[in-house]
């Protein structure tokens, strides 16, 4: 029987890891993701998992060990945040090109400086071109469920890509909320055994990874990764459908909240969607036709479903928890590009909010919705919750 418990986003990841029982976890603690390897190390110490837990001296070594274990044929998981993620950066594109299906609990935190332990998406957005799948979760239940689904999506033969399961630092990672857990045997049956394609431990079929290629083959290998990304949406939908059958919990590529007839739509990611949806309900009561579109899958970017959700709107507000200093914010850029490709020109405002963990309240969301309703549209980047 599934059981409910009051727990945090981090502990939910650790619990998923206990059930997944990965072959190798190599991790280095950093706030706010520390709880994940810390809790998991207790499971290792208590003999609840068979995992080889590799405690290393830096995040760079953690992800390097993960890549090596993954291409050896192991099922591998790790976690990190912010500057830890940044230190891993060099290895991320290598993991992706080696087609190492590592499942990564990424707990979003601001990049220094100034040093700050709270949430924004600057750390994972900096990795959006590293070749990893990115999924952003709204709450702890979604984090738990996505971590389990991620194993299957990443290991699918026509995908074989590493995957970030992102949750908001402290907001999701440390807040305790009721989460429903699946039975251990149900999880293990759902994920099955990893069937690696070119494991280094298969000594009868030896291969070398990452040989030097120059102008001759690098381009072609990147093209293979482009192709793998094209298979992610279908893999995701297949896995999510199977997961929904077992748990009753549905996770579409994007979460459409009262968008069907909406004139004004806010596009947002992760935990701040809660304040946005709350505001949608309040404004709906006042007669405003508003909705919220939460993007779950960010890489690959599901442009078609997003355009389908937005195409009927009179105006949209795209909210980014990250800034691209000197250029439009990352989510806004993607949304604009998707609409342009579809030949749709909807007036769009761009808002940056929540940097360094600044709270995003319903009144912040209302401010953006009222801009749309009052036709206060302009291309300049706006800021929600910033002191001028």
């Amino acid at each position: 029987m599934p059981r409910k418990d009051i727990t945090s986003g981090n502990w939910a990841v650790a619990e998923a890891m206990r059930q997944i029982n990965p072959d190798v976890v190599a991790a280095y603690p950093i706030t706010p993701s520390t709880d994940i390897p810390m809790r998991f190390s207790e499971f290792v110490a208590d003999g609840l998992v068979d995992t080889n837990l590799v405690t290393v001296e830096s995040e760079h070594s953690a992800i390097s060990a993960c890549v090596a274990a993954s291409v050896s044929g192991a099922r591998v998981m790790t976690a990190s945040s912010a500057n830890g993620v940044a230190l891993m950066h060099e290895i991320f594109p290598i993991a992706a090109s080696y087609r190492a299906p590592i499942v990564f609990g990424l707990v979003n935190r601001s990049l220094g400086a100034p040093i700050n332990i709270h949430c924004d998406h600057g750390d994972s957005m900096a990795e959006r071109d590293s070749g990893w799948i990115h999924i952003y979760c709204e709450d702890g239940q979604e984090v738990y469920d996505t971590t389990i689904m991620a194993v299957r999506i990443a290991e699918q033969k026509d995908v074989l890509l590493p995957i970030f399961v992102c949750q908001d630092g402290f907001i999701t990672s440390h807040c305790f909320e009721p989460i429903e857990f699946m039975d251990d045997d149900v999880v293990r049956k759902f994920i099955g055994e990893r069937d690696p394609l070119f494991p280094l431990l298969d000594v009868d079929n030896p291969v070398a990874y990452g040989s030097l290629v120059l102008t001759d083959y690098y381009f072609e290998i990147k093209r293979q990764q482009v192709e793998a990304m094209k298979h992610v949406e279908k893999a995701y939908l297949d896995v999510a459908a199977e997961f929904a059958k077992i748990t009753g919990r549905n996770y579409p590529l994007v979460d459409k909240y009262r968008t069907e007839d909406a004139d004004y739509i806010m596009v947002i990611m992760s935990s701040a969607a809660g304040a946005s949806k709350e505001t949608v309900d309040r404004l709906r009561e006042k007669g405003h036709k508003v909705g919220c579109l939460r993007i779950r899958l960010f890489r690959p970017f599901p442009a078609k479903v997003i355009v389908d959700a937005l195409k009927g709107a009179k105006a949209i507000a795209v909210c980014d928890r990250a800034a691209s200093l000197g250029a439009p914010a990352p989510l806004f850029t993607e949304i604009k590009g998707a609409l342009y490709d579809a030949g749709i020109h909807i007036p769009a405002n761009t808002y940056v909010y929540g940097l360094g963990g600044r709270d995003f309240f319903p009144h912040n969301a209302e401010e953006a919705f009222m801009d749309l309703i009052n036709k206060k549209m302009s291309p300049e980047e706006r800021y929600l919750g910033l002191r001028e």
């Binding site: 291969v207 381009f219 072609e220 290998i221 293979q224």
Partner: protein
Amino acid sequence: MSSLKGWQDLPLATTVPASTSEAVQTGQWRSMRPIWDEKECIHCLQCWIQCPDKSIKANADGKVTGVDYFYCKGCGICAAVCPKKAIEMRPESEFIEQ
């Protein structure tokens, strides 16, 4: 360029079959060729020990039997270490077939 494979024909994940270096004829790099004089050789195996490319051939009795020109890069270490000067380095140009 036409002999290079397209992206759909390449193995995935940057992999290549292992041990492919065995098929690389490094002997093509050679500009000087070691000529071994069997009559002078005392089979001390100094050349066999020192050769960086395992290109001195020896049999199970510990006797030198010749040079593996498929791999020999012509570095000349064998000739330099030979106490009997039984190996002579000669320019490859002398061996070009007409």
